[in-house]
Amino acid sequence: MKRLALLLSLLLVLALLVACGGETAEPAGTEPAEQPADTSAESSEAAEEPAAEDEIVIQHWYHQYGEEGTFDAVVRYAEEYSAMTPGVRVEVNWVPGDYFAALNSALLTDEGPDVFELQTVTQDRIEAGQLEPLDDLFEGVLDDFNETAMQRVIIDGTIYGVPMIMDPQFVYYNKSMFAEAGVEPPTTMDELQAACTALDTGRVKGLYLSNDMGSTSYLLYMTTWAANSDFIEGDKVVFNTPENVQMWEKKKELVDSGCLLVGATTEWWDPGALNDGLTAMQWVGLWAMPGVVEALGEENVGVMPWPALDENATPSVWIGGWNQSVNANSPNVEAAKDYVRWLWIENPETQIDWNVGYGFHVPPRASIAAQADALKSGPAAEVLDMLAPYGKTTPVTWTGAMDSIYQDAHSEVLLNGADPAEQLAAAQEAAQSELDALLNK
């Protein structure tokens, strides 16, 4: 009996070892790193069966895009490239939920993605050695790329990302609700307050700024610029200005007046609340345009920048977007760069498809934008016209840690009634120590 037990347990351990070995064998297959694609193709022809050992697998991570068809599209791009490039296979990882938390922890390991999306390339990632310089991909095409989009990927003269899409964010409004209430599109915060109150009928609210009532970082970018203020100048954090204090006070008044929609089941990035008629105005991005037009009818869709603090300030639009970066620690840096070049530099069909085929985005390249007919008429065209006068983006030294500090301070004001001047002063001090830590390294 004992012998049998011993034998069985030996078998069990053996089976475990085999199973674990199988798992570790897979990444080992991706090891042959700098091997150029063409030689591995030859060797796979020579071998009797297609040798998976020489195959380079490129892990490509995306955050979960909400628009229908986006997942199928990225899988299609990956398959197309894998089919035309022997010895290289692209695997797509579509990350639902908290993309940056997943990405950040994956980048700490040796098995992080080879190619991934970022919003703004930030300096802390360069300090951590996460990003591969991509200057050589831009040879001859650099002038074709939008300047604001490039601002988000260049650090100290080196390019770390290829802009894929630009995502302006602004306020949508329902024109027929405006007409019914006799309201004109507001251009200042006082007008916004008046419009919001006039449009609030109880069942239909005036404005939707997400369930936190407007403390999401992207909205805060816009409100800061609309208060004649900015984030960083040189090595100083500068958002604590009297105008910004006033802007926070006005937003608190907006919350207290009760005209905001709160408690919707969708958040700001989903136009559901506007489409379902729960609110007359909502802050979203251009990506939502096809859905909004379908729900409200094109003649009913109005767009406007975030209103200025007063007549002396300028309204604002935040130009966000996504860039493609290559993991500097990837064993397949060259193959990954070739893939990125094919996808976002050489291949106009994909770029047009990705920018206007599902949700709407502004193509970061002039030559592609010229071919994007979907953006040339209707409210989408109005959005494009807002970009030059009102569009802005955040500096590369503004990191996620500073976002957290700024958002929390703003939430304290909106939700807990803290004093805006005190909160802004404390937040500026805290953000400054983050910036010092970043720059002194």
Binding site: K2, A5, L6, S9, L10, V13, L16, D98, F100, A101, N104, S105, L107, L108, D124, R125, E127, A128, Q130, G202, R203, S210, N211, D212, M213, S215, T216, S217, Y218, V262, G263, A264, T265, E267, W268, W269, L278, T399, G400, A401, D403, S404, Q407, D408, S411, E412, L415, N416, G417, A426, A430, A437
Partner: protein, 320 residues
Amino acid sequence: MTTHELVETAVSPPPSRSSRKRQDTIEFWLFVGPLVLGLLAFVYIPILWGFVLSFFRARNSVTPTEFVGLENYLELFGDPRFLDSLQTVIIFAIFIVPVTFALSLGLALLVNNAGVNTGLFRTIFFIPTACSYVVASLVWKTSLFNGLPSGFANNILWAINEINPIAWVNTADPPYYWLVLVTVRLWLQSGFYMIIFLAGLQEIPRSIYEAAMVDGAKPGRQTFRHITFPMLRNTSVSVILLLFIEAFQAFDEFRNILATGGSSGAQILARPPLVYLYNVAFQDQNYGRGAAGAFVIAALIMVVTVVQGRLFGFGRREHQ
């Protein structure tokens, strides 16, 4: 030679003592080895690594770069957001522990005395334990307690007295969000602790009740106070201990109910330390400070456990 050894020699040829021993050792490690390896690799080494990390600068990296002594700990206690989170979790624990305790004990007494269909009731109350915190949180947030007129809670308020819709999760004053957070945890946890209390109740010998009955005790409050509750002391102490630990580790429902997409959302209303530390580590990518915070929380849980052990005498024998 004892009878036992005699029998053994008769059954099989006597293996030499040392080879028996060696075989036992091999068997021991075959069975225990994988577990020990797993514990080392996934529990003890990470804990040690985290401890080392908490004394180093580690931004955007889990490799210790520069020794900074206690700086991470000092920064942590200098951050009002962390102090707020400690306050939040302590208030939460002081509230949720007795409420869950009372509710699960009450349920256990009811089910135990149901007479008929005990199994059915036990199952019904236990089922929520099998539900994930994330799923339950999203149901609570988007369906039962959403802020729209069509939300379940708002519908009921309207039906009762035409009360206007309330934004449950986002109203700071009065703090309705606590209602959402507390009810979801009660729903998820009470069933589990009810089962533990049921087991405790069934351990109490019937004879004690019978003896009390003979002495003229009335069933109900009197027997509960003088028999049931004292006999449940060890069960109660372990339930309180587990409840405290779980309260200090609160994360899932706070993060899923109060956070919104791509922002810190309404988190500041009630942010327990683990949510704060999750943000510090995985959003701000400050792993050194995140690790330091984890050890502060661990220390806090230990202190509470030890104090509680002293107060209630955990592990003392039931009849002393």
